[in-house]
């Protein structure tokens, strides 16, 4: 049998109408251009759909995760002139609730603990968030437990920044607990350098551990820079099984930027530094802290405009837009 492939001959569209007609004729086809043109004329255009199509292209170039900010700007400028005429510069169909950038735990790592789990991380939290942030934006993380807490920075526009604790062990009855204006955290906020740049960070410990059979504690600790000590700022004890702690979706994310707009533009650098995890074994012994790595977690980004400034896989990273 011959190895030579047999090419299938197809009618190839030609740049000239004469050649096109010949090609159609040669393949026994029919020229339906007029028919399609007529149908097109009779079909009403959905102007909103047209705008959405063009706006979507603008959104794609403005949020493309592998383009740097300059390339995004250049691409957007190219599209902008045509889009302006079409009135499509305002994106349609906003999609609140996404992951701007951040880490999700790999399945084996998520459950690789028995009687306790904790995360330490330094929240890179600029104040204000900058750019076009005009609603909520969260810098949050879980410690792998399904009934643990999210101790996080919550922005609402440029002027309202809070440190909050949402306790999943108290959901849905009373999950909202700590709610502190950022201005009250002066003793806890510090400056940390990474990749040659200083960042404002809030270091914190988020711990869940079992004290007795099916009895657990959630704790949040902040590093008090002024007093040189760790401050316990939240604690809750509750009943739960290990299956409830490990067999649910809650607890699957490490440090993330959780988004409510799309796209983000002009935001200040935000993210996580020195993320570490620790596990407590079935004999109630804590192990050692280790930096969150690529074997523990993977990056998720929903293309909401954030651009990666640096990544030390996967424990330190910052994004802007």
């Amino acid at each position: 049998m011959s190895n030579e492939s047999k090419l299938v001959e197809l009618p190839v569209p030609s740049p000239t109408s004469k050649a096109a007609a010949a090609a159609v004729s040669a393949t026994n086809g029919a020229d339906v251009q007029a028919l399609f043109a007529d149908i097109t004329k009779m079909t009403p255009w959905d102007e909103e759909a047209k705008k959405a199509f063009l706006a979507s292209k603008m959104h794609m170039v403005a949020t493309h995760p592998t383009l740097d900010l300059a390339a995004r700007k250049a691409g957007a400028a190219e599209l902008a002139s045509g889009l302006k005429e079409a009135g499509a510069l305002t994106p349609t169909g906003p999609i609140p609730g996404g992951v701007g950038y951040g880490m999700f735990y790999n399945s084996p790592f998520k459950t690789n603990w028995a009687t306790g789990t904790a995360i330490y991380w330094e929240i890179v939290c600029p104040t204000p968030p900058g750019g076009n942030v005009n609603t909520f934006l969260y810098l949050t993380a879980t410690n792998r437990s399904g009934k643990g807490v999210e101790a996080f920075i919550a922005y609402n526009g440029q002027d309202q920044t809070f440190f909050k604790v949402f306790d999943w062990a108290r959901y849905p009855a009373a999950p909202w607990q700590t709610n502190i204006p950022f201005a009250n955290l002066a003793s806890y906020v510090r400056t940390e350098s990474a990749h040659g740049h200083p960042y404002q960070v809030l270091p914190l410990l988020n711990i869940t551990y079992q004290s007795a059979a099916n009895h657990w504690y959630n704790q949040v600790w902040l590093w008090n820079r002024a007093a040189n000590r760790w401050d316990l700022i939240y604690q809750f004890d509750y009943s739960a099984t290990l299956a409830e702690q490990q067999g649910v979706w809650v607890g699957s994310w490490g440090p993330i930027v959780e988004t409510f707009q799309n796209p983000y533009q002009g935001t200040n650098p935000m993210g996580a530094l020195n993320t570490q995890a620790i596990s407590r074994a079935s004999n109630n012994q804590w192990g050692e802290w280790h930096l969150l790595g690529p074997s523990d977690s993977y990056v998720r980004t929903d293309n909401t405009g954030f651009h990666l400034l640096f990544l030390d896989p996967n424990y330190s990273w910052a994004v802007n837009s």
Partner: protein, 86 residues
């Protein structure tokens, strides 16, 4: 001594509820303080925003929907769990 970059190891009597902290290098207890009362007081002063609280859960539901690592059945189960509170 422990620093923010060198976090302490949780320790102490877990059943007593107040977990201590130990320096990972020396094994000695590190300085800690219980500031829960102050943080509770400050939290009570801040007004609650029901819209923001609802948005928090709705956002998580959206995160589930977009999670390419979950099967449809896993998504349904996770969303159902969260909807209990809405």
């Amino acid at each position: 001594m422990t620093t923010p970059n060198r976090p302490p190891i949780p320790s102490g009597d877990a059943q007593a509820g107040f977990l201590g902290m130990t320096d990972p290098d020396t094994g000695n207890p590190v300085s800690v303080a219980d500031r829960r009362a102050e943080f509770e007081r400050l939290s009570r002063q801040a007004p609650r925003d029901p819209g923001a609280e609802r948005a928090f859960i709705e956002s998580k539901i959206e995160m589930i929907r977009k999670d390419s690592n979950l099967t449809e059945a896993e998504k349904e189960r996770a969303i159902e769990e969260l909807r209990r509170g809405l």
